[in-house]
Structure formats: structure tokens, C-alpha cells
């Protein structure tokens, strides 16, 4: 245990683009056979902010270049997984649903065992994979992913949920590696001030990046897929 002390004292967050082998306290960066495992990215955020739509758009944007799989965490059984299946963004064997017993944040933060099984099963059955997206069940502003489960996390909010959410903060908004503010096309209709949201997010997050998206437009997910590409480059640049 004493050997880990220095490790535990690492700065909590790494600057964007300088990802180390794996987060402190995180899972090992290699598969049992010693090769580098897939990058695991968590997507969290409140109900209805567009997490599943973002996952679907990311799969469409990245699936030709990357080997991808998705783990969904649903409150009610497999709905999100079934949405992804219906929309055929990935073959069914690349989508796995974790049931969370009415506690979606528990499954991604306090007891990640079911999600780890799902992630490892995907690597084993359809692998080798480049990227695994882990989508949380719709939850509140306090839900974040354990470092034992994911290497980076995206928090998705939307302009229709109120333009004061970035100001209110909470662990998701302040500490996620990427904050996505979705449904910008709706801003004029719901009276949300995007400038203010950007300012508030900057105040809460410092240098951590923020992406504004509108998934109704062609290529609307590009800011997020670009960010994932950069993370992946950093992930694979360091020897396993």
C-alpha cells in the first residue's frame, strides 16, 4: 500500500491532451495478454439531455475508422440499448446493457463491477476494440463515473434544461473531461443565452474544454468526435 502513496497524490486531473498510461486509481491500461486495451469514455448527464443521441451520432461518425462498442446503463432495463439497436448504429453484439436496480449512479461510481464485466466481455467477444463508450442512465447533476471504470468522461447537458446549469455546477459540470452543451438549435426557442452558458462553464471548469452541439445538423457531433480522436491519439501514443 505504501508504494501507492505517491500515485494517489498525483494531481486529480490531467491537462487535456496529455493523458498518462491510465488515471491514478484507474483500471490497468492493458488487456490480460499485455496489449493496450480500448479507451473507455463515459457519457453522463441529466435525463433527456441527449446522451443516447450523442452516443448514436458518435458511433455513426467513428464506426468506419474505429472498432467501437457501447455499454448502456438503463434505469428501466434495456431501453437505451434498444434505441441504439433500432437505429442500427452498431451491430447488436457491440452493444451491451447493464441493469442498475433503480440506482444508475451506483453502477457507474460506487459499485462498478457490472459495468466492468460488460466492458471486459465486449473486449473479449468482439475485440480488439479501440473505443468503448459507457453511457450512464439519466441521472442528476452529481453523477460522475469512477476512475476505476472509465479513462475519461463527458457530461452532456442541454440548453433546454435551463441556461443556469453551468453556473450551478456540480461534479459532472465542473470536473468532466469534456462538457457538452447540446441542442443549441433550441436556444432561441427556450430563451437560453449560449454566451452566458459558455462564460459560466469557463468559470466553473477553468481550462477544461466545452463543446456546443446540435445533433439535428449534419456533422453536429464533430466537436465531440474530434475530442475523442485526440484522446485516442494520446491514449495510443504512450507505450502500454
Amino acid at each position: 500500500m505504501h508504494l501507492d502513496l505517491d500515485h494517489d497524490n498525483y494531481p486529480e486531473r490531467y491537462a487535456y491532451g496529455s493523458l498518462p498510461l491510465a488515471s491514478p486509481g484507474g483500471p490497468p491500461a492493458t488487456r490480460p495478454d499485455g496489449t493496450r486495451r480500448a479507451l473507455r469514455v463515459g457519457l453522463g448527464g441529466p435525463v433527456g439531455s441527449g446522451k443516447t443521441a450523442t452516443v448514436a451520432a458518435l458511433c455513426r461518425a467513428l464506426r468506419d475508422r474505429l472498432s467501437i462498442a457501447v455499454v448502456t446503463n438503463d434505469i428501466y432495463t434495456r431501453e437505451d440499448a434498444e434505441y441504439l439497436l433500432r437505429n442500427a448504429v452498431l451491430p447488436p453484439e457491440r452493444i451491451s446493457a447493464v441493469e442498475t436496480g433503480a440506482c444508475p449512479h451506483t453502477a457507474i461510481r460506487d459499485d462498478i463491477s457490472a459495468n466492468l464485466e460488460a466492458v471486459e466481455d465486449l473486449e473479449e467477444t468482439v475485440g480488439p476494440l479501440d473505443l468503448i463508450l459507457v453511457e450512464s442512465g439519466g441521472d442528476n447533476l452529481t453523477a460522475t463515473f469512477s476512475k476505476g471504470l472509465v479513462d475519461a468522461q463527458i457530461f452532456v447537458i442541454d440548453v433546454a434544461g435551463g441556461d443556469d446549469i453551468p453556473r450551478k455546477g456540480g461534479p459532472g459540470v465542473t470536473t468532466a473531461d469534456l462538457l457538452v452543451i447540446n441542442k443549441t438549435d433550441l436556444a432561441p426557442y427556450v430563451g437560453s443565452d449560449l454566451e452566458r452558458m459558455a462564460r459560466d462553464a469557463k468559470a466553473q471548469r477553468g481550462d477544461l474544454p466545452v463543446a456546443f452541439t446540435s445533433l439535428v445538423a449534419e456533422g453536429g457531433v464533430t466537436p465531440v468526435s474530434d475530442w475523442i480522436h485526440e484522446r485516442l491519439t494520446a491514449w495510443t501514443a504512450v507505450p502500454a
Binding site: 428501466y76 447493464v98 441493469e99 436496480g101 440506482c103 460506487d110 463491477s113 466492468l116
Partner: protein, 240 residues
């Protein structure tokens, strides 16, 4: 495969043996996946058979003296040093519901992950290698207790306790029951818990000499029926 020879668990206590290890293991926050499972309570609630603290207590008492007793005995037997693979087979024969067999193995695999982090042991490694998809959870629990240097009776207590806390916690979430009333239900069950644990540990010790057949096989037809009904639901809060 290693050869297993029956040895009383307490003689083999590891140097770091600590009674408090039992508290760590039996804590509802121990990250082994239990939070997503209702132990049949979700189906019993839907059937209108658990409606409040009184019916919850009757449900828990029935579960404790049937599948709880069997789990406690299997766990105690694994701690006492009976061959875990034969115990795994005995667990299969005592679990006619395929949904419950799947659940038991899933939870066994999740517990293995937590157990190997908390109390690393060659016996847990060997079982994980022999049953990569998971051994029955009580068998893993018994080996975990053994690795932590505790006794078969401790294993029986932990398994018996789990058999009632799962449904109790689930009922709180499903019916919004008063958590104090539910805690009082658990408190009223403690004499039964002691009795079941003692019975299970005694059977485990007898099994060392007389073989696996003396381990209890108490079954509850409705629990088997609930498990298969629940598995067919398209919408549910709990995984089982």
C-alpha cells in the same frame, strides 16, 4: 487444476485475520453488484404480495429459510475447505431456475473481482480460472471469507444476511417504504439469521465427513417462479 482437500477453515486462518473483515464484506456498499438485484422482491411486489413491512418480513423469512439457508451452507462449506467446483455443481442442482443460475454466476464473478482486490488468494484465482464466467456467488463468498481468515460460521452469517438485505433494500426503492420500518424488519429477523447461520455451518462441518448430500437443499417454489416471470418482463427496475 489444484486438488482440494477438506480442511477446517479456522485452522487455516491467514495472518491478517480480523473479525472486522466480516463487516467490510457484509457491508451493503461492498462493490459486488448486489444493489441491482431484488432477490425476487420486484416480482413479488408486482404480484401484489409484498405491500408493506409485514408482507416484506414474511417474504424475507421465507427466503432466508430456503435459498438463504442453501447459500449460507454452500458458503460455509467453501470456507471449511470443501472442493469449490463440486460445491458449484451442488449449487447448480439446487437452482432449477436458469435465470437464478445466471444471476448467481454473474454475482459470483462480480464478487470475485472485489474479493481478489480486498483479500488476494490463490484459491480465488484458481476458482476464477476454472469458472471464467463466474462460479455461484455463495461459493465465491465462502472462499472470500476463507481468504480473509474468517470462519465457516462467518460465511454463513454473511450469506444469510445478504439473502434478506437484497429484498429489503429493493422494497424500499420499489414501494417507497419507510426505511426505519424496513430496518426494524431486518432487526426482527436477526434471531432467524443466527439460527440459519448456525444450521448452515453445522451442515458444512458434517459435509466434510459425510459429503455434499448433507448440505441443505431447501427450495421455495414461488422464488423460482418469480425469477422466470421477471426474466420475461421488458421493463423492470432490477436485474433479478
Amino acid at each position: 487444476m489444484p486438488r482440494w482437500r477438506p480442511r477446517p477453515g479456522h485452522e487455516q486462518a491467514a495472518p491478517r485475520a480480523s473479525r472486522a473483515a466480516l463487516l467490510v464484506l457484509a457491508d451493503g456498499r461492498f462493490p459486488a453488484g448486489g444493489h441491482a438485484h431484488s432477490g425476487g422482491a420486484e416480482a413479488a411486489v408486482k404480484a401484489g404480495r409484498i405491500t408493506g413491512p409485514g408482507t416484506l418480513e414474511a417474504f424475507c423469512r421465507g427466503r432466508l429459510h430456503t435459498s438463504g439457508l442453501v447459500a449460507a451452507a454452500l458458503a460455509a462449506a467453501a470456507t471449511a475447505g470443501l472442493d469449490p467446483l463440486l460445491l458449484d455443481e451442488a449449487a447448480d442442482a439446487r437452482t432449477p431456475s436458469p435465470s437464478l443460475r445466471t444471476t448467481a454466476r454473474k454475482l459470483g464473478r462480480q464478487l470475485t473481482r472485489a474479493a481478489r482486490a480486498a483479500w488476494p488468494s490463490p484459491e480465488l484465482d484458481a476458482l476464477a480460472a476454472a469458472r471464467p464466467q463466474g462460479a455461484h456467488q455463495p461459493v465465491v463468498l465462502g472462499l472470500t471469507v476463507r481468504a480473509a481468515g474468517l470462519t465457516p460460521l462467518d460465511a454463513a452469517h454473511a450469506a444469510a444476511y445478504e439473502s434478506v438485505t437484497g429484498p429489503a433494500t429493493a422494497a424500499v426503492r420499489l414501494l417507497s417504504l419507510d426505511p426505519f420500518a424496513v430496518t426494524a424488519v431486518l432487526a426482527r429477523l436477526t434471531p432467524d439469521l443466527d439460527e440459519v447461520a448456525a444450521q448452515a455451518a453445522e451442515a458444512a462441518h458434517r459435509a466434510l465427513d459425510e459429503g455434499m448430500d448433507v448440505l441443505p437443499a431447501a427450495s421455495a417454489p414461488l422464488l423460482d417462479i418469480y425469477a422466470e416471470q421477471h426474466a420475461t418482463w421488458p421493463v423492470r427496475l432490477f436485474a433479478s
